[in-house]
Amino acid sequence: MSQFNPLISRRELLQNSGTGLGALALVGLLGQSAQAERNLDEAPLAVATPHFPAKAKRVIHLFMNGGPSQIDTFDPKPEVNRLDNQPLPESFVKQLQRTQRNRVGKLFGSPFKFKKHGQSELEISELYPHLSQHADELCVIRSMQGEIANHSPGLLLTNCGHSTLARPSLGAWLLYGLGNESDELPGFVVLCPRGMPTAQSRNWTSSFLPGIYQGTHIDTLGNPEELIPNLTRNDIRTGSQRAQINLTQFMNQRHAARRPDDERLESRIHSMELAFRMQTAASDVFDLQQETANTREMYGDTLQGKNMLIARRLSERGVRYVQIYHGAGQPWDSHGSAISNQKRLAAESDQAIAALLSDLKQRGLLEETLVIWGGEMGRTATSQSNVKDRKRWGRDHHIDGYSVWLAGGGFKGGTAYGTTDELGQAVAENPVTLHDLHATILNQMGFDHKQLTYHSSGRDFRLTDVHGHVVSDLLG
């Protein structure tokens, strides 16, 4: 196929690529191994082959929205504890952004004890007693760098690769690149109890990609049947509906037989069968009673437990990207009473996250499922408020050196990558940007981040724009 002949120019290719959007999307792949041709008009969700063999097939993204504190969880800072309650040394103040200098409070050591866990001796604080048992599975990045220290920009950067402009989310890109393994469920599902996170549906937008790649948001406190609109009707027996659909398909077959050159008609016949099956499958996935009592107990009878278990059920059915927000708005945002808040929030999710990892491992799914944990930023090692009562001290937004971790999907477990300076003010070594993280995730999903492109408004877009490097030190 001439489209893969590296000798023809980019523009020639565009001019020759005919009418199909699929052809345009291939432009970025020039000279590279071929991505399965994506015919956006007819089979936008057909499973496609990535650029190279993938380590991970699916993603479960645990979004601690609001921004958890790294020095209370995964990035121990003994020096901050030693200097606790003292002003930040002048040499550090100078390095801060101008606007932050007057706001900075006293050093605020973490009251939570860190211990070494597992063979890897990865340090994790006592906030995560269950999760700590999985230390050897976790690849912690302690040197994440954001761009703008606020929630919406952080969420958008983390999800969509740009702090301000409307760009497609990682989940949408993956669905576009890989298609949906499930015939019966949407390929990109966002679970968020009690409403929506800050920045709302922009977090899972498909932007200029076709709408079919957009995330489907489900309020897990709501009615699960709202997962998919019009999923069922309750005034009819399945047998009657089957007979009714047979009538339609009889007419469709006769109609298609006279129009053999039109593949769309066949596709629609197939699609109606799929819809029929989907009715049961989608109701099924939310029925947690199908799990054993042991499994349900392992996850815990909590909101987070329910979310994680649903996530596993979706994921094992082939849903490409499941994203779970801790809650609506920005629950981890602890400007006041940081200690008690972090404690509560970690306790809400610790058991459930650990159960998810155990469960995936037991089922042999952790290898091919990439679990991501993190917020849209971290929190300062200094206090935010000047009140006397330490209990009420908060931690402000922090983007220069915060922690996220990844597990499964070919990431190197038991790793702590990158460092922050001794007072946790900035990245000291091996900074990782969101673009780097995206490039690395795409790499594990089988894509060269520079080649997964989509042509829109006159140019080729990609998740990492003009940035991003694969951080190979994170990979096993």
Partner: protein, 768 residues
């Protein structure tokens, strides 16, 4: 390490050697990944695989000044002295390596013997080169006065469209198709011109009319449909995709979980419908949408509503920069087929659009103020809306109740945020009343001039806090070589509109006729309808495109004339069935040897169901209403409420474009959620029941008559014997079910299930 030789020739050799041995390997290792043609990367606009690359440098300045390492940017970068410019990014080079670079620049930064020179890749973003290319580009040439040649086919020799099309077919050894059968032809005409199905009676009568006088029968049908009020609704839906129309902003209020309503957006939608029905000349239509406030209309003139083209954008309450960008984008891509918005941060990489052009237009739109969408003082009421007294009284009553609530709230603040309770009520309850109540006032969503127009300057890399050179407000250099500044009296919107609609503008007419052609024919002459730039190849039928554009302008930009001309062509009237002999030559039907089978849009599907169920309310204009749910409107879908923040899942499932930016065309996807809509949605179930409550259905004598009636009503054709027997068996089965299974009986009645099975069929949703 190297020898400085005495003779020029020898030194040249040594330089090349030095480059190849010492410098090139470092460039390949550390720099090529981001700065070479072989990697297809030129980050920051810099190429380091050729001499012209480092001499020209990137977006900042020259990377290398030969002989002056101390002033060369490349040295600054590799020395890691400037915190913002450290190359290569993975780590500082060794001292020895840095010394090599220093020596190399000292020597005059020689390049390889076989320097790549300028290539197409290296000239990406090179505006001089792109303007040179633009001189040859088909879409930027004046619209040619093309005349078709006579062709050797009686059917295709009667009008220019057919002559152009047939000539190309003949070259390709393709044979044209015969006319579509009468039913397909009438269904096609009816949907293409009104978005509604024909009645069974019309379909039944059509064959006899065709037999009597074919041209006259077609002509009369076309005239009747184009002159029907539904014509404007059909055309308006196409235009509203381009104008990214919606009834809300792109955000919502987390505290009240309500959208940011645009209660008066509907007057723009109505303006568009009326414009197409009145056959308002397209150039006037465009002018009014950009600048009605500057054209001397009365404050309450219906034309004021045209400004909704700008005001219904997605960023009403958001960032001004994004709003201006949206306006530049909708104007340039929507009207001109140019991707000007790409030049926001730097010169366009692929098009002759320097960033100065973007900011010239930025100045125009930055000189525009818009009212808060809820502001009732700044948005004037428009003429032409009446309401009955009862509804009016009801509105006043509800309005007063809300006013009382607002008054009672006083200055109290809402818990959890800084907004006052009164404000909250205004933005939610009052806004919802203004949006939905049929007797709420009809106001124009206007924009207005700022007191003084803004004198724009370039924002370097799109950063508003980093100002570069000043540019005057003016039109694009590509289309106005003189770059005459607009008047300093106002924003220049009217002048801009004049330039866009000038008959000399090569793009506006071409872009619009291509859109209309695509809508009617099911495929575009130019297959990127909103991008006529250098990246888009010339169409297979350039002469036809120019003929259509010329004919359109010569006929006073009459859209009805354009539509009529196309649908009366034999090209349009062909059958959609495939011909084996042609299929092997042109499987994509690029040469229009048959009609394209078209899938109904979600609006057409919904309207068709309402039409056949008989409950459709053809009342025109007015406030938007919910499309689905308990209290769904029986009006046509174009009057449905579009929530931009949370686009309705059914619309989304059926490829309705998210109105975040101008949309050039709709795709057709086949996904299971579409089938689920047909199978389970309360709306479809309702229509199926309505069908079986029609008097004609109730009057039928037996099952056979009922089946025949259903096929005629829904598909406008007789039921075939196998269909009748299949349905008869289905009915028997249902009856047996009912009597034999007492537990969990199905409450759905059999006949609505039958009606629905036809509504679900592919035949219902495709046009041959």
């Amino acid at each position: 390490m190297f020898v400085i030789t005495q003779t020029g020739q020898a030194e040249e050799m040594a330089n090349v050697d030095f480059f190849e041995k010492r410098i090139r390997p470092m460039l390949v290792k550390h720099c090529y990944e981001c700065h070479s043609e072989q990697e297809k990367e030129q980050m920051g606009g810099l190429l380091l695989d050729r001499q012209s690359g480092w001499l020209k440098g990137g977006e900042t300045t020259m990377a290398v000044i030969p002989g002056e390492p101390q002033s060369s940017l490349l040295m600054e970068a590799i020395l890691y002295k400037n915190e913002n410019l450290q190359m290569p990014p993975e780590g500082k080079l060794s001292d020895v390596e840095i010394k090599y670079f220093e020596d190399w620049i000292q020597r005059g930064a020689p390049g390889p013997e076989n320097d790549l020179g300028d290539s197409e890749f290296s000239q990406l973003g090179d505006q001089e080169f792109l303007f040179e290319q633009a001189k040859q580009h088909w879409a930027f040439q004046p619209i040619a006065k093309t005349t078709p040649l006579q062709v050797d086919n009686a059917m295709f020799n009667r009008q220019p469209i057919d002559q152009f099309i047939f000539a190309k077919m003949q070259q390709q050894k393709l044979t044209p198709s015969r006319h579509a059968d009468p039913r397909s032809m009438l269904r096609r005409l009816s949907y293409d011109l009104t978005g509604l199905p024909p009645t069974a009676k019309d379909v039944e009568a059509f064959p006899a009319k065709l037999r009597e006088n074919r041209p006259q029968a077609i002509q009369e049908t076309v005239d009747r449909l184009i002159e029907s009020p539904a014509f404007g609704e059909k055309m308006a839906r196409m235009w509203l995709d381009i104008a990214r129309y919606a009834d809300t902003d792109s955000r919502y209020r987390p505290d009240t979980k309500t959208p940011h309503y645009f209660p008066f957006a509907f007057t723009y939608r109505d303006y568009v419908i009326k414009a197409f029905n009145a056959d308002k000349p397209f150039n006037q239509f465009v002018k009014e949408q950009l600048a009605a406030d500057l054209m001397g209309f009365a404050e309450d003139a219906p034309e004021q509503a045209a400004l909704g083209f700008l005001a219904v954008g997605p960023h009403a309450g958001g960032s001004t920069q994004e709003e201006i960008d949206d306006w530049i984008d909708v104007t340039s891509r929507g009207l001109l087929g140019l991707t000007v918005a790409c030049a926001r941060c730097h010169d366009h990489k692929y098009e002759p659009i320097p960033t100065a052009d973007y900011y010239a237009l930025h100045g125009v739109f930055n000189s525009v103020d818009r009212a808060n969408p809820l502001n009732e003082k700044l948005q004037p009421e428009v003429q032409g809306y009446t309401t009955d007294e009862k509804s009016h009284q009801d509105y006043l009553k509800q309005r007063q109740a809300i006013a009382k609530k607002i008054e009672a709230a006083g200055n109290k603040k809402a818990g959890g945020n800084n907004r006052s309770i009164a404000q909250k009520i205004r933005e939610t309850e009052l806004a919802a009343l203004l949006t939905y109540h049929p007797a709420a006032p009809a106001r124009a969503m206007v924009v207005a001039e700022k007191k003084k127009p803004i004198e724009p300057s370039i924002f370097i890399r799109g950063d508003a806090s980093n100002r570069g050179d000043a540019v005057p407000r003016r039109f694009l250099k590509l289309l106005d070589d003189s770059q005459t500044p607009f008047s300093d009296k106002n924003s220049g919107r009217l002048e801009l509109a004049g330039k866009i609609t000038s008959p000399d503008n090569p793009l506006t007419a071409r872009v619009f006729v291509n859109r209309v052609w695509g809508m009617l024919m099911g495929s575009y002459l130019v297959d990127a309808p909103s991008n006529f730039g250098l990246m888009t190849a010339a169409p297979a039928h350039p002469e036809l495109l120019d003929w259509l554009a010329n004919d359109f302008i010569e006929n006073d930009w009459s859209v009805k004339h354009l539509v009529r001309t196309i649908v009366l062509s034999n090209t349009y009237l062909q059958s959609s069935f495939s011909l084996d002999s042609n299929e092997s030559i042109d499987p994509g039907n690029r040469f229009y040897w048959r009609a394209n089978r078209k899938h109904l849009s979600i609006e057409e599907l919904r309207d068709s169901m309402l039409a056949v169920s008989g409950v459709i309310d053809l009342k025109q204009f007015g406030h938007s209403a919910p499309l689905w749910g308990e209290d769904y409107t029986r009006r046509r879908s174009i009057y449905g409420f579009i929530n931009r923040f949370n686009l309705d899942p059914t619309l989304r499932a059926f490829d309705f474009p998210t109105p975040m930016q101008t949309q050039s065309e709709r795709t057709e996807s086949v996904v299971a959620t579409q089938s689920l809509f047909a199978m389970n949605s309360a709306f479809v179930l309702d229509q199926a029941v309505e069908i079986t409550e029609r008097p004609e259905f109730l009057a039928a004598n037996d099952d056979q008559e009922r089946i025949v009636y259903l096929f005629e009503l829904i598909l406008q054709r007789p039921a075939a014997p196998p269909e009748i027997s299949k349905i008869t068996r289905f009915l028997e089965l249902q009856n047996r079910f009912k009597s034999s299974l007492k537990k969990s009986p199905s409450t759905a009645q059999s006949w609505p299930l039958v009606a629905q099975s036809i509504l679900m069929s592919n035949e219902f949703q495709y046009l041959d």
